[in-house]
C-alpha cells in the first residue's frame, strides 16, 4: 500500500497531464460523428459504413486534416434501436458538439433523428438509397432517390429487355410499399394495363416461396415477356432465388431486378441460383476505373482483409465525406449553416468515373447502373444511363408529391407546393 501510493499519485499526475494535452489537442480538432448501429439486426450492414468513415478520416488526417486541423471521430452505437438513434444524435450534437454526422441506414432511423438535427441545427449525411418524399435543410441525401434506381431499372426492363408484364414483389413494410406505389403509377402512365401488373407482399423473413414462385411462373407464361421488380428485403431473398432456381425459372425468361441486393449481401450466400438476375445501383465494386481500383485497395488494406467487398452505400459515404471537406474549405468554417450554404453546387468525382454534384434539393447527381449477378457474387454492368441523373426528392409519379419541389437555394424550402405556392416547412406530408 505504502509503496503504491506515490506511484498512484504519479499516474494521476500523468493522467491529468495527458488529459490537458488531449483537451489542448481537442481544441485543434474537428469532431466528426458516426451514427451507425454496431449491434443488433442492422449491425451487419452498418458496421461496414462506420469503418468506411473511419478510413476516410484517417486518410484525410494523413493529408494534413481539414483547414490545418485534424479530424476526430466520435463513434456511437444506436444498436438498431430507432428511438436510441434520436438519443445518440442528441448526444453527438449537444454534448460532443460534432461538426458533422455520417449515419443511419433504415428510413425509420432517419425519420427518428430528423427532428433532432433540425432542432439543434446539425448536419447529417445519409448514404442509403431510399423511398424519397423528403428533403430537410439539415440532411444531405447521398444515396439514390427512387428516380435514380427504381425508375431507370424499370425503364431498362421495358426498353432493353422488352418486358410487358410486371410482378412487383416486396416485403411488407414502408419502403417497398412506397416504391411500388410510385412504380405502379409510372407503369400505368406508360400504358401498362392492370391485368399485366401483379403485386405481392410477403412478411419479413418469408421462407416458403413455392406458391408465389409458381404464381409468378404462371403469370409469366401468358405469352408476354415478364419481369419481376423485387423490393424483397434481406434474408427472404435467399429462399426466394433458390425457389426460382428449383422451379427452373431462369433469368433469361423472367429476370428479377432487385433494389436491396448488393455485394455485401451476396458475400454471405450461395450465389449459384442468382446468376443472371439483376440489381440496380449507382456503383458496383466491379466498375473498372482507376479511382475504384484505388479505393478497393485502400479499403482492403484498412480493414486488413483481402476478401472484403465494397458496395453502393460505401461509395455514397466517400462522396459525402469529400463533399463536406470541400464545403468546409470553401466556407472556411465548420459552422453548420455556412457549410450547408457552401454544399450546394459542390462537385467531387465519384468512383465510377463521373462527377457527383450536390443539388439545391440536397440530393446528388448519380449514374444509374444495371448489373447482372455473376457466379462470384459480383455484378457485370449490362446497362448504364448515358449521363448523370439528378436526384428528385419528390416523385413526379405520385399524385400528392407531383407538385412539390425542394430547393434550399432559391425557395429556402424542402416542401414547396408549386400549385398553392406555399412552403409547408418541415411537415413532410
Amino acid at each position: 500500500m505504502r509503496k503504491t501510493k506515490p506511484g498512484g499519485l504519479k499516474q494521476l499526475a500523468a493522467a491529468i497531464a495527458l488529459m490537458s494535452a488531449m483537451a489542448a489537442q481537442a481544441a485543434d480538432t474537428i469532431k466528426v460523428g458516426v451514427l451507425h448501429s454496431l449491434s443488433g439486426t442492422m449491425a451487419i450492414s452498418e458496421t461496414t459504413l462506420k469503418d468506411t468513415v473511419l478510413m476516410l478520416i484517417d486518410e484525410q488526417n494523413k493529408k494534413g486534416g481539414v483547414m490545418g486541423k485534424k479530424l476526430e471521430a466520435v463513434v456511437v452505437d444506436p444498436a438498431s434501436n430507432w428511438p436510441l438513434f434520436a438519443e445518440k444524435a442528441e448526444q453527438l450534437l449537444v454534448k460532443d458538439k460534432v461538426s458533422v454526422v455520417f449515419g443511419c441506414w433504415t428510413s425509420v432511423s432517419r425519420k427518428s433523428v430528423l427532428p433532432v438535427f433540425e432542432k439543434n441545427n446539425g448536419l447529417l449525411f445519409y448514404p442509403v438509397q431510399y423511398e424519397g418524399e423528403e428533403s430537410s435543410k439539415n440532411v444531405f441525401y447521398t444515396g439514390a432517390a427512387p428516380n435514380q434506381q427504381a425508375i431507370p431499372a424499370v425503364d431498362y426492363l421495358m426498353n432493353e429487355v422488352g418486358v410487358k408484364r410486371w410482378v412487383l414483389a416486396g416485403t411488407d413494410y414502408v419502403y417497398p410499399r412506397t416504391t411500388n406505389k410510385i412504380l405502379e403509377a409510372y407503369l400505368k402512365a406508360k400504358g401498362v394495363k392492370d391485368e399485366d401488373i401483379m403485386i405481392n407482399y410477403t412478411p419479413f423473413g418469408h421462407s416458403n416461396w413455392q406458391r408465389i414462385v409458381a404464381d409468378i411462373k404462371k403469370f409469366g407464361s401468358a405469352g408476354k415477356k415478364t419481369g419481376v421488380v423485387s423490393t424483397i428485403n434481406g434474408d427472404a431473398n435467399v429462399p426466394f432465388y433458390k425457389e426460382l432456381g428449383n422451379q427452373k425459372i431462369s433469368a433469361e425468361d423472367i429476370p428479377v431486378v432487385a433494389f436491396s441486393v448488393g455485394e455485401e449481401e451476396l458475400s454471405g450466400i450461395d450465389t449459384k441460383p442468382l446468376v443472371g438476375h439483376l440489381a440496380a445501383w449507382n456503383y458496383f465494386m466491379s466498375v473498372d476505373t482507376p479511382a475504384n481500383a484505388e479505393f478497393i485497395k485502400k479499403w482492403r488494406a484498412f480493414i486488413k482483409n483481402n476478401k472484403r467487398v465494397t458496395n453502393d452505400p460505401m461509395e455514397a459515404h466517400v462522396i459525402g465525406f469529400n463533399m463536406w471537406v470541400k464545403a468546409v474549405e470553401k466556407a472556411k468554417s465548420t459552422e453548420v449553416s455556412k457549410v450547408i450554404d457552401a454544399m450546394v453546387g459542390i462537385e467531387v468525382p465519384n468512383l465510377s468515373g463521373g462527377t457527383a454534384k450536390m443539388l439545391p434539393n440536397h440530393h446528388l447527381t448519380k449514374p444509374v447502373l444495371i448489373g447482372e449477378v455473376r457466379a462470384d457474387g459480383q455484378f457485370d454492368t449490362v446497362w448504364q444511363t448515358d449521363g448523370l441523373v439528378p436526384g428528385d426528392a419528390w416523385s413526379d409519379y405520385l399524385p400528392g408529391s407531383k407538385d412539390i419541389e425542394a430547393d434550399w437555394v432559391k425557395l429556402k424550402c424542402g416542401n414547396y407546393n408549386t400549385k398553392t405556392l406555399k412552403c409547408s416547412g418541415q411537415n413532410y406530408e
Binding site: 451487419i44 405481392n200 416458403n208 406458391r211 407464361s221 427452373k248 446497362w383
Partner: protein, 563 residues
C-alpha cells in the same frame, strides 16, 4: 458455295446422325476434293468473315455483340461453335491494346490464350491486359438458341430434346425451318412430339385454314403454355366483334381443344396446391415432432426447441466445411451428427436445468427461454450474426417435370419423404423398443413406473434427448429450405407449438395429421388471401378450433389424460 460450307459445318455434329446428311456430306467432300482449287479461296473468304465477326465482339455494347453473334453464325466457320460456347461460358476475352479476341483460360492473375481462328496456343497474358467479353440475359438466350441448332444432330436424345425446347423458347421463321428439316429424321418419340408441338404452334399462323385446323388438332391435349396462349388468343373476340381466327371450323376446334386443356390445367393446379400444402405441412411436422415428444409425452414446455433445430442446421454447415469436396454426401452425414449434437445438448439441458423444475411449468418455460437466448448468443459468438451459406447438393436442386403444367421441386419432395421416414422411425422406437415402452410407461403413470423399477430420471433424460435429437434432424432439413442464422429457431417455435396443440398433446399421429392439414389449408388460402393474410386466417381458425376442442384433434383418452 454457301451450300457447300453449310454442309461441311454440319458434318462434325452429324456424323452419327441421319444417313442422308452424311451421304450428302460425303458427296460434297468428294466434290470439294476435286475442286480443291476453287474451295480454298472460299474458305479464305469464310475466314475473313469469321475474323471480322470476331473483331466485332470486342465491344461493351450488347446490341453489337448480338449482331456479331449473328455474323459468326453466318460465317459458318468450323470454329463458330467453339467460339460461341466460350462466349456463353465467359471464356472469351479481347486484348486491350489491339482489340484481338482470344479464348482464355484463367490461371490466377494471368490468362492462357488461344487463337479462335486457328485454335493454336497464343501464349500467356496478364489478366489486366485483357477484357472479358461479358454477356447479358438476352445475349445468353441468343447464344443458347444458336448452340441448340448445333445440338439438334447430337446422338444423345436428351441433348436433342433440350435443344428443341431451347429453340421453342424463341420461335422464328429460321428456327421453324430448322425444326421442319429435323422432324422427318427424328426417331425419338419425345423429341418428335416436342418438334411437332412447336411446328403446330408455328402452323397456327398459316394462311391455309386446313393447315391451321390440323395444327389445332395436333395441339389438343398439349399442356404447352405457348399452345394455350395461342389458342386462347385465336378464339378471343376483338372489340369490333371480329376474331383473330377467321375460320369458323378452326375456331370451334380451338374451343374444344382449349376446354380439354383447361380441364387438365385446373386438375394439375389442384394437384400442385396439394403438393405445396403437403410439403409445407411436412416442414411443420418435422419442426413439431420433436416437440410432440418433449411437450406431448413429457409435458415439458421447451422454449429452446427452435434453437435445437438451429443447432442441427449449423451442424450441416460445419459438416459442409469439413467435407467441401462431397457436398452431396454432406447432408446425409449431417443427419446422424445433428441428431447427436442436438440430442447431447438436449440431455445437458435436461440434466442441468429441467430436472430441478419438473412440475413447475412456469419456471420451466422461463428457464428454457433463457437457455434459448444463451444458445443463440453462443452461435452468434462462434459463427457471427450473419447467415451462413449452406450449399444445396446437386441431387436436391431442380425439379421433377411431370409434364408441362406440373412439376415437383426435388428439395420439397425429399423433405416430404424425409419427414415420413423420421416419423416411421420414431413410431418404431416408441412402440417396439424397451426405451419406448419405458417412455410411455413414465408418461402414463410416473409413480407406478418408478415402483416397477423403471429409472424414471434416466428415462426423462433420454426422452428429452430423443426429442431434441429429432429437432436437430429437422434442422438439417430446414438448412436446405431457409436461411441458416441465429434467428432460425425463433421463426419455427410458434408454428411447432401450434401444430402440437392442434393435433392433440401426446399424440404423434395427431401431430402428423395436424401439421399436414395446417399446411394444406394455408397453401389453399394463399392464392386468394396472400401470404400474410393466409397465415392470419389459419391462426384465427386455430384459435376458434381450440375454443371448441381444447384437447386438439386427437385428445388423449383414459385416466392418464384426466390428471
Amino acid at each position: 458455295m454457301t451450300n457447300l460450307s453449310c454442309t461441311l459445318y454440319a458434318v462434325p455434329g452429324a456424323s452419327p446422325g441421319p444417313p442422308f446428311l452424311a451421304r450428302r456430306a460425303l458427296w460434297w467432300l468428294a466434290f470439294a476434293l476435286m475442286l480443291g482449287m476453287l474451295v480454298r479461296p472460299a474458305a479464305a473468304a469464310e475466314s475473313t468473315a469469321f475474323e471480322q465477326a470476331l473483331g466485332n465482339l470486342a465491344t461493351t455494347n450488347f446490341k453489337q455483340k448480338e449482331r456479331a453473334v449473328g455474323e459468326l453464325l453466318d460465317a459458318r466457320h468450323a470454329n463458330t461453335r467453339t467460339v460461341l460456347n466460350a462466349l456463353l461460358e465467359g471464356n472469351l476475352y479481347y486484348r486491350k491494346d489491339d482489340k484481338r479476341v482470344f479464348i482464355g483460360a484463367a490461371q490466377d492473375t494471368s490468362l492462357r490464350l488461344q487463337d479462335p481462328l486457328t485454335m493454336s496456343d497464343a501464349g500467356i497474358a496478364d489478366a489486366s491486359d485483357c477484357t472479358k467479353i461479358t454477356t447479358n440475359n438476352q445475349l445468353r438466350k441468343a447464344l443458347k438458341s444458336a448452340l441448340a441448332s448445333f445440338d439438334l444432330a447430337d446422338p444423345d436424345a436428351d441433348v436433342r430434346l433440350a435443344a428443341v425446347n431451347e429453340l421453342l423458347r424463341s420461335l422464328d421463321a429460321d428456327r421453324v425451318s430448322i425444326l421442319r428439316a429435323r422432324q422427318s429424321s427424328e426417331n425419338n418419340d419425345a423429341v418428335r412430339t416436342a418438334i411437332q408441338t412447336g411446328l403446330a404452334i408455328a402452323d397456327l399462323d398459316s394462311a391455309d385454314a386446313d393447315v391451321r385446323l390440323a395444327a389445332v388438332d395436333q395441339l389438343e391435349g398439349s399442356l404447352n403454355p405457348e399452345a394455350f396462349n395461342r389458342l386462347s388468343a385465336s378464339v378471343a373476340r376483338a372489340d369490333d366483334g371480329s376474331y383473330a381466327e377467321p375460320d369458323e371450323n378452326v375456331r370451334n376446334a380451338a374451343r374444344a381443344a382449349l376446354n380439354a386443356i383447361n380441364n387438365w390445367r385446373s386438375f394439375y393446379s389442384t394437384l400442385e396446391t396439394l403438393f405445396f400444402g403437403l410439403s409445407l405441412g411436412s416442414v411443420l411436422v418435422l419442426a413439431a415432432i420433436g416437440l410432440a415428444i418433449t411437450f406431448g409425452v413429457m409435458g415439458v414446455i421447451n422454449m429452446a426447441h427452435g434453437e435445437l433445430m438451429m443447432l442441427g442446421a449449423y451442424t450441416t454447415y460445419v459438416i459442409q466445411l469439413l467435407m467441401p469436396q462431397h457436398i452431396g454426401a454432406s447432408v446425409l452425414v449431417a443427419i446422424p451428427v445433428a441428431f447427436a449434437v442436438a440430442g447431447g445438448v438436449g440431455v445437458l439441458i435436461e440434466r442441468g436445468v429441467m430436472r430441478f423444475l419438473y412440475g413447475r411449468p412456469l419456471e420451466t418455460l422461463l428457464a428454457t427461454f433463457g437457455v434459448s437466448l444463451v444458445l443463440q448468443q453462443i452461435v452468434r459468438d462462434i459463427f457471427s450474426a450473419n447467415n451462413r451459406p449452406v450449399e444445396t447438393p446437386a441431387w436436391m436442386a431442380g425439379s421433377l417435370q411431370v409434364n408441362e403444367a406440373f412439376s415437383i421441386t426435388y428439395n420439397r419432395l425429399y423433405v416430404v419423404l424425409f419427414m415420413l421416414i423420421v416419423f416411421a422411425i420414431l413410431q418404431l422406437v416408441l412402440k417396439k423398443t424397451s426405451l419406448g415402452l419405458k417412455v410411455r410407461a413414465v408418461a402414463q403413470n410416473r409413480a407406478m413406473a418408478k415402483s416397477m423399477g423403471v429409472r424414471t430420471e434416466w428415462v426423462d433424460a433420454l426422452t428429452f434427448g430423443l426429442g431434441s435429437g429429432i429437432a436437430g434432424v429437422a434442422g438439417v432439413a430446414l438448412s436446405q429450405l431457409t436461411n441458416v442464422g441465429p434467428n432460425l429457431g425463433q421463426s419455427y417455435i410458434i408454428d411447432s407449438f401450434m401444430v402440437v396443440v392442434f393435433g392433440g398433446v401426446g399424440n404423434l399421429w395427431g401431430t402428423l395429421i395436424g401439421g399436414m392439414s395446417l399446411g394444406v389449408v394455408n397453401q389453399a388460402l394463399e392464392p386468394y388471401a396472400g401470404a400474410v393474410l393466409a397465415k392470419i386466417l389459419v391462426l384465427i381458425a386455430l384459435i376458434l378450433f381450440i375454443q371448441r376442442r381444447p384437447r386438439g384433434l386427437f385428445p388423449q383418452k383414459g385416466r392418464a389424460a384426466e390428471s
